[in-house]
Symmetry: C2
Subunit: 412 residues, 2 copies
Amino acid sequence: MEQYKVEKSSVLLTNIFANRVDRMKSSDIRELLKLISADVISFTGGAPDPDAFPSPDDLRDAVEYILANRDKAFQYGITDGLPGLRKSLIDFMYRQISIKADLPNVLITIGSQEGLEIVGRLFINQGDKVAVGLPTYLAALQAFNLWRPKYIGIPVDDNGLNTVILEEMVRKHKNTKKPIKFVYVVPTGQNPTGTIMSLDRRKHLLEIASKYDLFIVEDDPYGFITFRDDIPPRIKALDEEDRVIYLSTFSKIFAPGIRLGWVVANETLIKQMSLAIQAINLCPPNFNQYMVKYFLDNRLIDRNIPRIREIYRVKRDAMLSAMDEYMPKEVTYHRPDAGFFVFAYLPDYIDAKKLLYFAIEKEKVAFVPGRSFYVDGSGYNTMRLSYSLPKPRVIVEGIKRLAKVIRNSLMR
Amino acid sequence: MEQYKVEKSSVLLTNIFANRVDRMKSSDIRELLKLISADVISFTGGAPDPDAFPSPDDLRDAVEYILANRDKAFQYGITDGLPGLRKSLIDFMYRQISIKADLPNVLITIGSQEGLEIVGRLFINQGDKVAVGLPTYLAALQAFNLWRPKYIGIPVDDNGLNTVILEEMVRKHKNTKKPIKFVYVVPTGQNPTGTIMSLDRRKHLLEIASKYDLFIVEDDPYGFITFRDDIPPRIKALDEEDRVIYLSTFSKIFAPGIRLGWVVANETLIKQMSLAIQAINLCPPNFNQYMVKYFLDNRLIDRNIPRIREIYRVKRDAMLSAMDEYMPKEVTYHRPDAGFFVFAYLPDYIDAKKLLYFAIEKEKVAFVPGRSFYVDGSGYNTMRLSYSLPKPRVIVEGIKRLAKVIRNSLMR
């Protein structure tokens, strides 16, 4: 590329933004992560291991299938998503996770992030109360924030969101002007804790939703990346009253670079979601949808899931055993049963964000400070460690470095 | 697919929508178009001709290039878009349309529709005044409507948006509580009229923007599909004060099925746009971006543009000469110099929407009633006829049928 000098008198339009722009801030995390150079061991993002991506030969075969459907694959599509893909996906969900759906219940999105965007857009009026985990997935909060909800934080422990406390909070807010409207939950491989909500709590959550007339947003990006056998059914699979909006993504079981996710919900909700997407970006890419349809129809994703699980199980084990060995006893952490992350708690006099500067500068290791995952301003002494991308031996080295940083901060 | 019966007690969540949902209505057009069966000749959508799509052999080569970059192509990307693609695009814009930009001025979007979505989200407060053509592109209005602007309609004639009237309106609203904030314009192949804004008016528009401190949104999906030689420079290429937000798309010069578009603007605006996209869908698909980069770097898009122009020129000519021959003299229309559409005016006692029912039911031909393109409630006697998809002989047959419907309605 030549560099084209852009010489403008630059009247610079600084006062033209709408008043909602202050709700579109870059997260602390992203700003901090810009400090990371190539020699830093990074436990930051949730990027999949490229070993989990589809194989070149399968992809070439998929491309021949796409070319056989060239006139449609390159054309505009239906806003709801390619019907053929939605059908294949319905079969996939039934055989893999016992979720039953018909075509009008399924919508294809640009990653599950677009599902979160639409949930915010369609359901959150200013001041509406939304119950979320303490901690919970940061980017869901970013998507919801634009619409100015009031968050009600519910503690998460090794069995997931604490539904007893949830029910207390729902009851407490029931007769206020704004009762709790919906519960956002990541029950299977919670982000950031990696915990799996117990079956009892899943059932209790549905009971609460029914009793107090709430709905549930079940976000399930990591539900296929599980490390034990007794995974309870998805909340959507237990949902008798159609109160669950289920979101998932092909990012972890196929590849994030194709940006496809999906929503399963009541037909009326899907229709309205589809109208929202029309205005946002018209429709998801047909090309990518034919690609995923090929992989689904040939059971290539089904066959890949056990292999992918093994990739991440090995990495999780590497991180946990390194932590068991090297971390000072003051550091506690969840032992994740699913997903990409170990979530750790430091002594409460340590600010993880301050620690991050030392970690990057002195020891060349990076993590995500946990505070952004807490809607109540707490969690400053927590950290999320992703094991999805680095190789196992790099994970061990990174944990050694991190343990050193933490030990040093304990002595201060 | 097996059909999974979804048996739910269906408490049906009808009262859960946010109060902005009434601004996300399906357009009349889309509802009407559901009536279209396979035997109807359709002049409705703006779908490209598949003959204009990339060739299978080039695509296979592109896939090998993508596979050589597999670890990145399948991975999450940068919210602003793949830097390599943005560099290739900067070169492309410079050689094709004399727009100068640096990397921080360019953002990749999901079609140019996502550019429109972001413009609305970032710049429109409730009641903000936005000047648009009479008529103007329907889906831009749909994207903006969510934020409740007040539209100021400015007539469009064969030389594009009338900037003399624009200046009058800008002056009139200047000292009100809400002056006109920006002008949305499709100067090169206006949708729906197909007109090209004259150079004088482009310069005048920039003068107005400078004098009254407005900004300009230049939407350019059809700027490469032109049918005469003396196309004036893009407004962005004349923009000395960085007042233009330029939007375009690969949908017409490559394929809509990959859903990629782009924005060129001041760096400060691009940064804020990028934050908005983070919350909407994280990032555009890397896979698709590598694909387009391959086609740009090998000049395959440049080489294809003259061929694509010829495809649509032949179709435009087929439609115009059929209209000249068969349409009653009461029907007038623009002779498009660019784009996919002929826009026609019926006698003012004819409602094009009512006509559409007869056209579909009796004569098996469909078009888009023009009223939705008018922000002032006028245009009920107008129609948009797309020639992009049907074969030339089908276009002629469709125009014959449509002329018959119109002749019949003239006699009523």
